[in-house]
């Protein structure tokens, strides 16, 4: 099996498991809608100006909250049923396991976002469905899922388990999120790319750094 097929096999395994239980996607989806409703009341999203300044932030907060649910679930399931040991015993490189889990998590987040972004458009009447916004959302999701997969495989092995993940992940993902929110805001408002290009670059830089570092140290997290 080639390296890519190994990664694909791990993703396929996660998709198959999800199709049978439908636990993760449904909880992430419903949770996102709840967060949108809370935002609507908490921020009084009725005036045009407030909507334009807060929607990019609200979108990303919803994405990372939903993503957090998925990340916790994804690794907790592996650990509870002893699947992680099985996965580690398979004759594949550890980095393939990391990429498989990370891309799987990113995929689930992206599926939720496919529903989430149009919902924002419908509820708040903002032009989010456009090429640049989609690029930014995908980039942010990849980075978040990447470092999130690493940290959640650590979090499930601590005493506090699920509670630990947000505490570990939020500060690390924060710089990337700030860049994502700023870039989304610029793209949504239709400003020329040169105006917010620095944020896009920063987002890409963080993606690359976070994913590279995560792959490099993943080995040390799963070794026993």
């Amino acid at each position: 099996m080639t390296y890519l097929r190994k990664i694909a096999a791990i993703i396929a395994k996660d998709i198959a498991a999800e199709l049978r239980t439908r636990e993760m996607l449904s909880s992430m989806g419903v949770f996102s809608i709840l967060v949108i409703i809370v935002f609507n009341f908490a921020l009084e999203l009725t005036e045009r100006q407030i909507i334009e300044t807060t929607v990019p932030g609200a979108l990303w907060v919803t994405i990372i909250f939903a993503g957090m649910l998925g990340l916790n679930r994804s690794l907790a399931v592996e650990l509870d049923k002893g699947c992680l040991d099985g996965l580690l015993l398979t004759p594949v490189d550890r980095s393939a396991i990391f990429f498989g889990k990370a891309f799987g998590n990113a995929l689930f987040m992206l599926i939720v976002e496919v529903i989430l972004v149009p919902l924002f458009v419908v509820f708040f009447n903002v032009p989010l469905v456009q090429p640049w916004v989609i690029v930014i959302v995908v980039l942010g999701t990849l980075g978040f899922a990447g470092v999130g997969t690493l940290l959640s495989s650590m979090a499930v092995n601590t005493r506090a388990r699920e509670v630990m993940l947000p505490i570990l992940l939020f500060p690390v993902a924060m710089p990337m999120l700030i860049a994502a929110v700023k870039a989304t805001s610029g793209a949504m408002m239709g400003f020329p790319v040169s105006d917010w290009q620095q944020w896009l670059s920063l987002l890409i830089v963080f993606d690359v750094i976070l994913i590279t570092v995560s792959v490099m140290v993943f080995d040390y997290v799963v070794e026993e």
């Binding site: 650590m154 005493r159 505490i167 939020f170 500060p171």
Partner: protein, 234 residues
């Protein structure tokens, strides 16, 4: 057991900090617009510098731990995080004291302040992670991993000055918004101010080294006690 190096370090730190106090309050000239309030800046920069230096030391010792799996590097990383957290807290406190009269607020969500707050949270998360793991080897391994991954937040703190509009005074120039910039270019005063600042940074770095050494010794003693306890019981 006599610890000569430790004693020397402690004495040197005390002398340096005392001298720094004299320089800051008596020798350095009065700043033109901010008057006496500006004097806190010497300590503020010095403690924040140590806050970030400590993080860098943690990064290096975390990498060394993963490479060698030697307990000593884990101890250095942990000790440095604890001291770094303390100094970043002091940095926020001295900053607040300065900001209240100058910016008319204790805290503002300025880019610099926000990114420092993130770094501070990373320190806290590191310590919480350690507290949540029982197995000592796993504890050391996970903390080392987190010490490396979370270091990415540090470059942003410095990049923030270039990327975001900030009202925080910039020491390392290249800032467009210079409303609060220190008056370094005021004739005779400038050289004295610069020298005082350099001295403070050196003094606090020595304090950091002293504290780090003490904290490492403490952890080693704790290890020894644990070992002895095990020998006695088991």
């Amino acid at each position: 057991m006599k610890d000569t190096t430790g004693t020397i370090l402690a004495v040197v730190s005390a002398v340096l900090v005392a001298t720094a106090l004299v320089l800051v309050f008596l020798w350095a000239p009065l700043e033109m617009t901010m008057k006496e309030v500006q004097r806190i800046f010497y300590f503020h920069v010095a403690v924040d510098w140590v806050g970030f230096l400590a993080f860098f030391v943690t990064l290096v010792s975390s990498i060394l731990y993963l490479r060698t799996a030697a307990r000593k590097w884990d101890i250095v990383a942990l000790s440095s995080v604890e001291i770094g957290a303390l100094f970043l807290t002091l940095g926020a406190m001295t900053g607040s004291l300065w900001a209240r009269p100058v910016w008319n607020t204790w805290w503002t969500w300025d880019a610099r302040l926000t990114t420092v707050a993130i770094t501070w949270l990373v320190y806290l998360a590191y310590l919480m992670l350690r507290g949540a793991i029982d197995d000592p080897q796993r504890q050391a391994r996970f903390s080392a991993v987190y010490g490396i991954v979370s270091f990415v937040t540090v470059p942003l703190t410095f990049a923030s000055v270039f990327f975001l509009r900030t009202i925080h005074p910039a020491l390392f120039a290249a800032s467009t918004a210079a409303q609060g910039r220190m008056q370094f270019d005021t004739g005779l005063g400038s050289a004295k101010m610069g020298m005082t600042l350099t001295f403070c940074v050196i003094a606090f770095t020595v304090v950091y080294v002293t504290l780090l050494r003490m904290r490492i010794k403490l952890e080693r003693t704790a290890d020894r006690v644990a070992r002895l306890q095990q020998e006695l019981v088991g």
